[in-house]
């Protein structure tokens, strides 16, 4: 099953002002026109998908392939993301090293983990995938997988396609390995280390999510019955402090299921788009006021976790703080506050002379505020008593009364 995306016939009928346009055209308009290229779902967009699946703003902008970094820049809240060239150089050098000699080291690692007999490099097909444009390269990839069926093959930077939000996204895994039994293993090469047999779980999780998207793309339409994507990807990382590769198999089943569900939610982007005022677009070149209005017309679900994954997070954070939203202080803060959504509402409910509301959280808040005031008052009184008596004992604690 694939996440086929885009509106159904029934929905179109209810949206008369869009009747003559396909969802793809509408999404292209949101980007600023048919000439603006669609941003692929990169690792950051995937991480954002996992971190905050309920945000409509992110869903729409990612689904339409809008360059959120440029939008954030135009809004005056640029995202401070960037990659150090040291990390970039190191990552590329490590990948080149792993793939050197026709991928001999890579296949040896793979076979050591799957228990297969490692083939001689002469038995491994290394198809040339160069072509004009991503569509051509994607076609070459499919062809190469079909042609090499029955033997070993290693595909270096193939291009896969995935239908996301009614448009075709092009994805580029680090490598794919075709096994003689027709299985295809997704290979991810990362530059974080496997130290003493374990790696940073957050980074491994991100790699697994990325590999799951590739696995979904491989299983999508156009997949022949001949080969099938394997449920485990191979993660290749530097071993300890060296440049030698170490590898581990990453189980993908759960990540594939999760990503599939989250991508399926993206099918609703055309519904979200339908709620926009006609003619609204996210083209970064337009008047900032119009752009702000367009961005604000889609509701966001800001949480501090967004800061690490979404380019628009700083814009959303400013809005959340200006509105006094309690989520800006962290998701865990929200838990016990019931229907109280802003800092002012909470503080009003907590104050002893505050308006009596029937909000169940209010009683707990008033109690919390009373206990806090009592404890702070007690400690202040103690400190003053200490200061008044002038007894500054020699203990380190006495520093307070200096």
């Amino acid at each position: 099953m694939t996440p086929t995306l885009g509106g159904t016939e029934g929905q179109k009928a209810t949206l008369p002002h869009q009747a003559e346009r396909t969802p793809q055209q509408r999404l292209a308009e949101l980007r600023g026109g048919p000439d603006v290229p669609q941003r692929p779902l990169d690792a950051r967009a995937l991480a954002a998908l996992a971190a905050n699946p309920g945000c409509r703003r992110r869903a729409l902008l990612d689904g339409a392939g809008v360059d959120k970094g440029a939008v954030a820049q135009a809004l005056g809240s640029p995202a401070p993301f960037g990659q150090s060239q040291f990390a970039f150089v190191r990552g590329n050098a490590f990948e080149a090293r792993v793939k050197a000699d026709g991928g001999a080291a890579l296949l040896a690692l793979l076979c050591a983990h799957t228990g297969e007999d490692c083939p001689d490099t002469s038995e491994v097909a290394l198809p040339d995938l160069t072509a004009d444009g991503p569509a051509g390269r994607a076609a070459r990839t499919r062809l190469a997988l079909d042609e090499a069926y029955g033997g070993w093959a290693l595909l270096d930077h193939p291009i896969l396609t995935l239908e996301v939000a009614g448009t075709t996204a092009y994805l580029e895994p680090d490598a794919l390995a075709l096994h003689p039994d027709g299985g295809v293993t997704v290979i991810e090469i990362k530059s974080f280390p496997i130290l003493d047999g374990s790696a940073d779980p957050a980074k491994v999780g991100a790699a697994a999510r990325q590999a799951a998207v590739y696995a979904l793309a491989l299983a999508g339409p156009g997949a022949t019955a001949a080969w099938a994507v394997r449920e485990q990807a191979l993660l290749v990382c530097p071993k300890d402090f060296s440049n030698h590769p170490a590898a581990s198999l990453l189980p993908l089943r759960k990540q594939v299921a999760t990503t599939k569900r989250q991508l399926a939610r993206l099918t609703r982007v055309d519904e979200i788009a339908a709620e926009l005022p006609p003619g609204a677009s996210f083209s970064p070149g337009q008047d900032p006021g119009t752009l702000t209005a367009a961005v604000e017309s889609v509701p966001a679900a800001y949480a501090p976790e967004c800061l690490a994954t979404c380019e628009l997070a700083f814009h959303c954070r400013d809005r959340a703080r200006d509105g006094g939203a309690v989520e800006a202080l962290g998701r865990s803060v929200r838990g016990e506050l019931g229907g109280l959504a802003t800092v002012d509402q909470v503080l009003a409910a907590a104050s002893p002379e505050g308006p009596g509301t029937d909000e169940p959280a209010a009683a707990a808040l008033r109690r919390a505020a009373a206990l806090r005031t009592e404890a702070l008052g007690a400690s202040r009184a103690r400190a003053e008593a200490l200061r008044a008596s002038g007894t500054c004992d020699a203990e380190p604690g006495g520093a307070a009364c200096r």
């Binding site: 401070p80 960037g82 130290l195 402090f241 030698h244 503080l347 919390a368 206990l371 404890a375 520093a399």
Partner: protein, 511 residues
């Protein structure tokens, strides 16, 4: 997050200034802490870029690596770092006090009292952030298995002297920092967030600059504005005015300033090494100042009553490590065996429970959190009725009636605990709750051995008492088997402990 700390965050957000979440300092702060601000190279594992080190805020030592990918330069840096850190880490080894300790005699199997040494103090290491603690652990791991030319004349790429020793110390400190309440190695952000709530989220609190801006904003500016500037303000060339507290550097710094300077160094341009040194120091200096500002803020808080008890355990841990080094034991293994790992986890769980209890007893604001959660209550004594246990030797079991406004989660027969004025503990059980807010407790202990309770151990009507549902010194679970008796389910006995091989080094390791 508890409702009280959530409320503190919201008050801070509304007022623009951090609010206290503790009224005393819950961690030990040494008189002369050693401050270490490390920086690392992006993309490389355990490749330091520089460090600022010292116990004197006016005179930090700065060490830098001109080309982080050059292994010789890296180890020269670590050698200098060892010369700077080790004298401090070893400074408390010789001043000891003698303590008595219970031990199981290996021959008779009886518990006997033995005398042992305990270092009178232990050196404290402060780093800016939690990733800084991880970096200390990583540095320790990268150094402790290395061999010096003296230890093994045949080793290729020998490490400078004392580098493996520093690796073992840093490993010990990093491992100890995983114990709740320990203070040998602490991140400043962790220390500050324990004592103040800011008007930003917990994730944003990991940024030392914004945290300090909320706690102590500059004159005439709100904490929120100052935090925003500390986080995002860039100068005309696009560089952050307050560089991140590390160990990672800002990518804009890497790409615009550091990379060209490293390229000039590689090309042999005269003066490039000095230029790099100044460049890296410019990224370290603001964090160095921030570290000492944070230390000053923490010093202004009075120390919690149980902090010296916990620091004593840190001193014990320091003494144990000293003894292991003196006994010539091999470096800490890469992975713990099953029994050691289980012991460590059990110990950390126990320390966590102990820490939670002690912090509540030391600090009314922490106790307020427990009261709100129904795990403690304050109550006024309304009536005391003397009663005695049944049995051959009747002992006092007075019944105390209390009135409370708190809502403890108690059922009949549940035990509650309180601290007596002299520091001893008293246990009681709930006998009845005749009406909401009225509790009848039977005192069970802490009244001495006589027929009449000792002076001051039974409350009088009108007294205001604080009872907790949790024990004040929680006990750990059942003991674990000796390593030699590890069951086969856990890999069996670990066998003879041998020194692990160092990491193999090859010429191609360096790009």
């Amino acid at each position: 997050m508890s409702l009280i700390s959530a409320l503190a965050r919201m008050e801070a957000a509304a007022s623009g200034r951090a609010e206290p979440v503790a009224t005393v300092r819950h961690r030990h702060l040494a008189e002369r802490p050693l401050v270490l601000v490390p920086l690392t190279t992006a993309g490389e594992t355990g490749a330091p870029l520089g460090a600022m080190v010292g116990t004197d805020r006016g005179a930090p030592q700065v060490f830098t690596v001109a080309q982080p990918r050059d292994r010789d330069l890296r180890f020269a840096f670590l050698g200098r770092l060892a010369e700077a850190l080790l004298p401090h880490l070893e400074s408390c080894q010789d001043e000891v006090e003698t303590i008595e300790r219970k031990e199981t005699d290996p021959e008779s199997g009886k518990r006997v009292t033995v005398e042992a040494e305990l270092c009178a103090d232990a050196p404290q290491l402060l780093v800016p952030t939690a990733p800084g603690v991880d970096f200390v652990r990583l540095l320790g791991r990268s150094m402790r298995f290395r061999r010096t030319a003296e230890e093994d004349p045949g080793t290729p790429y020998p490490a400078p002297p004392r580098v493996p020793l520093l690796g073992r110390w840093l490993t010990h400190y990093a491992e100890r920092s995983r114990v709740p309440g320990s203070s040998l190695l602490l991140p400043l952000t962790g220390l500050l967030t324990r004592h103040w709530a800011t008007g930003q989220s917990h994730l944003e609190d990991q940024h030392l600059g914004t945290l300090l801006a909320w706690i102590a904003p500059p004159d005439g500016e709100s904490g929120a504005e100052a935090a925003r500037r500390a986080e995002l303000e860039r100068d005309g060339t696009g560089q952050l005015v307050r560089p991140p507290a590390g160990p990672a550097t800002d990518p804009a710094f890497d790409n615009r300033l550091l990379a060209p300077a490293v390229a000039r160094y590689d090309a042999g341009v005269p003066g490039a090494a000095e230029e790099l040194r100044e460049l890296i120091a410019s990224q370290l200096r603001p964090t160095w100042e921030a570290m000492w500002q944070g230390v000053d803020l923490l010093r202004a808080l009075p120390e919690g009553a149980h902090v010296p008890d916990r620091w004593r355990r840190d001193r014990q841990s320091y003494t144990h490590h000293r003894d292991r080094l003196r006994a010539g034991e091999p470096p800490q293994p890469r992975r713990d065996d099953a029994v050691t790992a289980a012991r460590k986890l059990a110990m950390r769980e126990q320390r966590q429970a102990e820490l939670e209890a002690q912090e509540a007893l030391d600090d009314p604001l922490v106790m307020a959190v427990r009261r709100l959660a129904g795990e403690a209550f304050t109550a006024a004594v309304t009536d005391v009725e003397m009663a005695y246990s049944e049995g051959k030797r009747p002992t006092p079991r007075p019944l105390v009636t209390l009135r409370t406004e708190d809502t403890p989660l108690l059922a009949e027969g549940d035990k509650v605990h309180r601290q007596l004025p002299e520091g001893a503990q008293q246990r009681a059980e709930l006998v009845a709750e005749p009406e909401p807010g009225v509790l009848v407790l039977r005192l069970l202990s802490g009244m001495g051995r006589g027929k009449e309770p000792a002076q001051g151990t039974v409350p009088e009507p009108g007294d205001l008492l604080c009872w907790t549902l949790f024990e004040h010194s929680p006990r750990g679970g059942p003991g674990l088997p000796e390593p030699e008796e590890t069951p086969w389910t856990h890999g069996g006995p670990p066998g003879e402990q041998t020194a692990e091989d160092p990491d193999p080094l090859t010429p191609e390791d360096v790009l």
